[in-house]
Symmetry: D2
Subunit: 481 residues, 4 copies
Amino acid sequence: MALRTGDQYREGQAKIKHNVYIDGRKVENLEDNLNTKTVVDAIAKVFDLGQEDRYDEIMNVVSPFTGEKISRNVYPSRSTRDLEMRAEMGLLTSQKLGTCNYRCSGLDAMHAIASVTYEMDRDMGTGYHQRFVDWLKYVQESDLAVSGALMDVKGARDMRPSQGDPDRYVRVVEKRPDGIVLRGAKTHQSGAIGVDETLVMPGVTPREGEEAYAVACVVNNSQEGITYISQYNALSAEREFMKDNSKLGNPLYGQRETCTIVFDNVFVPWGRVFLCGELEYAHKCLLRFAKQHRMTCGGSCKVGFMDLIIGATQTLAEYLGLDGSPIIRQQMIEMAKVREVSYGCTIAAAYRGEEQPAGSGYYLPNDVFGNAAKLNTGDGFWEVMKWAGDIAGGFTVTMPSERELDNPVTGPLLQKYLKTHGSVEDRMRMTKFLQNWVAGLHGVGTWHGAGPRQNQMIALWRDIDLEKKKQMARELAGIED
Amino acid sequence: MALRTGDQYREGQAKIKHNVYIDGRKVENLEDNLNTKTVVDAIAKVFDLGQEDRYDEIMNVVSPFTGEKISRNVYPSRSTRDLEMRAEMGLLTSQKLGTCNYRCSGLDAMHAIASVTYEMDRDMGTGYHQRFVDWLKYVQESDLAVSGALMDVKGARDMRPSQGDPDRYVRVVEKRPDGIVLRGAKTHQSGAIGVDETLVMPGVTPREGEEAYAVACVVNNSQEGITYISQYNALSAEREFMKDNSKLGNPLYGQRETCTIVFDNVFVPWGRVFLCGELEYAHKCLLRFAKQHRMTCGGSCKVGFMDLIIGATQTLAEYLGLDGSPIIRQQMIEMAKVREVSYGCTIAAAYRGEEQPAGSGYYLPNDVFGNAAKLNTGDGFWEVMKWAGDIAGGFTVTMPSERELDNPVTGPLLQKYLKTHGSVEDRMRMTKFLQNWVAGLHGVGTWHGAGPRQNQMIALWRDIDLEKKKQMARELAGIED
Amino acid sequence: MALRTGDQYREGQAKIKHNVYIDGRKVENLEDNLNTKTVVDAIAKVFDLGQEDRYDEIMNVVSPFTGEKISRNVYPSRSTRDLEMRAEMGLLTSQKLGTCNYRCSGLDAMHAIASVTYEMDRDMGTGYHQRFVDWLKYVQESDLAVSGALMDVKGARDMRPSQGDPDRYVRVVEKRPDGIVLRGAKTHQSGAIGVDETLVMPGVTPREGEEAYAVACVVNNSQEGITYISQYNALSAEREFMKDNSKLGNPLYGQRETCTIVFDNVFVPWGRVFLCGELEYAHKCLLRFAKQHRMTCGGSCKVGFMDLIIGATQTLAEYLGLDGSPIIRQQMIEMAKVREVSYGCTIAAAYRGEEQPAGSGYYLPNDVFGNAAKLNTGDGFWEVMKWAGDIAGGFTVTMPSERELDNPVTGPLLQKYLKTHGSVEDRMRMTKFLQNWVAGLHGVGTWHGAGPRQNQMIALWRDIDLEKKKQMARELAGIED
Amino acid sequence: MALRTGDQYREGQAKIKHNVYIDGRKVENLEDNLNTKTVVDAIAKVFDLGQEDRYDEIMNVVSPFTGEKISRNVYPSRSTRDLEMRAEMGLLTSQKLGTCNYRCSGLDAMHAIASVTYEMDRDMGTGYHQRFVDWLKYVQESDLAVSGALMDVKGARDMRPSQGDPDRYVRVVEKRPDGIVLRGAKTHQSGAIGVDETLVMPGVTPREGEEAYAVACVVNNSQEGITYISQYNALSAEREFMKDNSKLGNPLYGQRETCTIVFDNVFVPWGRVFLCGELEYAHKCLLRFAKQHRMTCGGSCKVGFMDLIIGATQTLAEYLGLDGSPIIRQQMIEMAKVREVSYGCTIAAAYRGEEQPAGSGYYLPNDVFGNAAKLNTGDGFWEVMKWAGDIAGGFTVTMPSERELDNPVTGPLLQKYLKTHGSVEDRMRMTKFLQNWVAGLHGVGTWHGAGPRQNQMIALWRDIDLEKKKQMARELAGIED
């Protein structure tokens, strides 16, 4: 059981009555709705990748807790090599799915919680870490899919959590002898509807008096009081109503499906609570999650997406007879440059990772390089979209439906008039695939995934040793202190 | 009749049996399909704008041919002031529609054809210009909606028109005593389904032996042999299936709706043929259309779109309590900068326009500034999307359907958790509106409208006086000739 | 006398004992020092351009005050056509000098003072405008060279004028019956050492209690109490010590030469005082000067510089056999694009200029387009430097002295080894010319000329009608007010 | 002797009669000329850094050939950790010198030659590698300063080496029993005047018939037939004539000093020839040098320079009271971003380095990440200059000479008027230091160091697995092969 197959995962999900809403309609069985189904399909595919020998080193690892081979998706890294493989896993799943793998935030949350709970126990003699390890062993043994929930709905940004509606950030509304009661809502939750459990973390750095917001714990996705409200947009409508998925841009795994999770007085037993009121450590949770997640979500995941865009664009350039143009090639290389720079920073982040805290056995990546990867990705992804769209041409947005090909009048016309090198079907399909990337949700999504640019800018500024640089300049300028 | 109302235009369209296909299905009455309907709605709105006193100077003008007040949409400019007002008309309709006004390419084609036929008659004693003026008077008197068709389907770009299928570019397949027969297909045709007539122009500079491709003429949109195949994408599906348009990003006028027009042996009487085989003038047609269209499509039209994006983003910044942040404001100004630079170049293109050819009475804009406007718009629009998406936040792509608000379970939850400054409905609606701009078709569409970047780059290079610049540098460097 | 020649101007300067310091040494006769001499040479050249028939429309104009043909350099514009010609004059002198024309700030200051004094007299019944016109007539009749002084030394930017040393901004330290006494210092003053008079303006928007800083007046450049301290840098040293100017990058007119002007209790009679204590109008002075100067300094002047860079780069590309490369050509066009966009905005700024205040007869450019021009120039100039440096190659910074060519050992070696298409002398000279532009002071200088980027950003934000844009977006999004 | 001090190196140089020309004048003793002296000073400083315990791991290493501790500057890397330390050495010397360390190209050439000669011997049974190791041991034991010479003067780029003057690329003009005779010239040679020996490599990929250009060998810098012609520019003039170096921007180590080396029938004994006619391996030499040098010169070296720029800019921001502005801070972070991204790619290049060829014991960095580092540096350095110049202000280019402070008239005036937070001397000195970086040679120099952008673009394109990316896209798009 330590390594489930995709089908075993599907069976698990089929047993759950989901409390999921999409477009104002309830979905109890995720595979009933063509949008929520993509989450199940994507997660199942990731389970299946773990079954392939050629990906074994990337996807699997031996647990120090169970002594068994487990999925890397439930394994907090224990070396810089682990961090590198964790990054490679994000790259591989992006290349194979063309969408989110949906366990990324959960795994990165485990990294943060492992590290912080170890530190809390060390500093304060609490028992949080043991609780966490107990839960983690269970997760590893059952090979559960786990999501991580950080981003609160927040409301107006010019108000603290304690101003206005206090539930804008998830908080503990009651502490009972047997556990705590949660209220609030997390948003932008990728694929949380299709996992087994969700690791909840603080999404704000709480100040004194805001202890209720310093909470980390695990909930089960079918737990009472939890409601999932799925995103819905034009691509959702297209998938749902077009029926024939084979004619969509990413026919297999679709868009990144996110949701808002509402916690309406959700009970969590103490055994699943890993932080409760410790302000300083709430802050550390946030920082360490960000550190880990920028390397993976901002780095390797998007590097995989860029591979797909580059591959699709080059294919279209060949169909269109444009691949011999020096200007087109230059633009292809501009795209490749963004890709490789982000990848380089990602690998450096892993390689320069460090045990944190010392002696814990847990490793986290280098923060500066993770932020560098994310910043390059965020700024560069729009650039990549620009050049891909340039090369693929206006047809990327003006193409007719592939269903015209089945129409006896328009089908032959398109077969005649859209012909380039290669078949018309292939051209239309690859164009539709690229439309998904350059004329859809990915620009803004990539920008905000793992936090918006300004977060990384601030983190970068915090981490560089400015005084040392000033000192270097003074020395060479001949200014005495 | 010289100034039709929107309703009069609608009545005209209602009488036509359209030969339009969308998503593999036939549409005979454009208002029957929610996507093709947006074209009619947008064009009707433009007719109605011409009825408003406050827009009279921009929208209307007195025709030198009929002596009556007519729509500027069917009036080739006769002064630089006309060019300026023509640019302002493009700006106004973009601001009011948030999509294409659908008569822009037709009007710009009239500019090119008026100028070139005048020159042909002057140079060769042909009667093309008189034919054109006769047709133009009819158009002005009937206040017709006219589209312009330039872009051929082209097929593989590494082949000349005469290589491969000869119909990849629209061509004359037969010359008869009473007229010509056309075959081929034009693509990326904005709103051509909803106009009365279409002005066809050469989409390639034909070389010797390719005279059949040197053709300009007018066709009627319900003429035998013409088939329109509409674009179809996720936003089309959403509009069609969601039914309640009020919950879409641009509820009134939708996306830019384009189509591919197939000409299958379409007959055009000589009285409506304005160019037929004259290679050199075919080239001039292309150049002058481009000159005119880059100012309007690349310049003022997109300036209006940027106004909408800036307005929507600032509104959301205020809802979210972000408008006081200096960093956010800086990004707002970056957007405004792109807008104003493009607008400046547009106005300069109009102001530095010239009569062409001298003595003709027809004015065309300055080519360099038109290209400068388009280049700044193309490069800058992605930048604008980036900052708008940054400020509006990840919710721009992850938002649930507005229909959740009607659900008794999720409605109250969203009312509670999505609350910021202003109402939840307004926030969701404005976010959806912005989603349309920054997470949809507009990046690639703006880039390729009026031709891709490389076209303008080449045009710019052709137009600058390089030798003069070299001479200046040599003089100052002290290099003797 | 209304149009002096360069020589007449030189004679005028030769009579003055200048109180100028450079590199710690005093210069009484500007032509004695090879750096200060370039200012005289440049200004003389501008006088001579006014003598050439082909430049007459650009350089000269008939004064409404004297009824005579005068230099446009001392003429506040009276129509949008005047503004356009004023911009063209800035372009022409940049192309001909490759450096500052040194009367630009003075002329733009005249525009501001003419407009503001007219308004003060109208509003308050003061006699400032008549005083200004009297002085202006004298300047026009004598064809004086006039500089404008705005930028105070300021000191630390986190202190108001009234905090710290009160002389950090130029101020009135005494009002006497016959005039005022000035103290303080202005900096970044281009060519002020070589003019006849300097128009001093407020460099800060003074608040209540800071009335002493609200001062505009004229001083004579040899007046008691004024000290000029010239800039000095590597290019200064090279010019001074190399002796043979023909082997420098801009052999004729050199770098933009600036200075700091110190006013140490300088007396100004009332007849030459145009503002004294009127806070609101001091602010208007600043705004109107900025409006005028951004069009000219940020726009047309730098457009001329870009012409020189483009011309030099293309020449070198031809010497090096690189001009056939599509990638190189693309980079050339990128440079041309920056040039044309700035030029377009400049022309739009002139064309959309307006009489200010209404009825005054004085015209000022459109503020938004002037700021757009400057912003595009500032951002783009570094881009231009980048591509020019790319094409010209590493030799742009590693080239030996042209004096090696006279050495019997190394001369023949360089003649052999530096040979490309064209002569080695020409290659070295053109490379040195370009070095001046891309490996010297121009990047930072262009950025800060007419004020740093942030000033234009703030001005742009102030000038756009944000509420109107928000309203447009709301309408289309279907949000009711 | 295996680790020389700076003074020991100086003594070595003092014994040489240099055949160096600068500004048309001969320099036999490098310390006699203030420009050539900076090379000696910089190299001596690097020797001294090797004496400091705290830098021991970075600067020194145990040689496998001599068994002794030697300078890393003469040590081809034998592990990825070595590559990382080699990169760190480049960073450290840049931070300490603010200019070139002058042994970088020599060390990177050793990497290439070690790897290629090993491969030649393995493939062809030649004895090149043993010769190289013999020479290397001598260099390590004597702790020599070695430069690497790659870039030929080339002449017009549209001609092959065999077209036009055959000496435009360094070539073997004669093979004798005891050795070879070289003719030609290498250019852009940083600090070659001040080293002991120079490792010459092919600067072009020779084709069949161009075997004479496939040559790698070592020459002694005082060898007969070699002439060095130094670069000369404004900064050279300033340093030479100002005398007081303490008032220059980089008072200690100056500009990167380069030269053109002319080989006029220079004899090289076979024992110092490492490649002679083997076309394929000449190509490998080039590629491997580029691979190594882009990581160090394009990566870590410039990262150190950016540290200095960031440190200087922040210092000035504090002097000017600007450091509290959010906009200024944002610009500081933009600079830091460029720095960290380049550093990340550099570290990834080292970490992902590989033994090449397998079994050789020699390690070279990852090519893709090295190119990524260089591309980010090249594009970003202009960005860094832009923001640094923005923050430091116009004074960066308009500042007077620090010598004014000694003048009894102007000194007190500047003390009064240039006062901000901190002393006027410190402000002027730091501004001068920054002037050196943002208003001098560094933009173009950084761009072209380790080859211009286009070289890296082509290398990147060659190295990415395009077919694999196309395959990934096809799979997800549902296109069957």
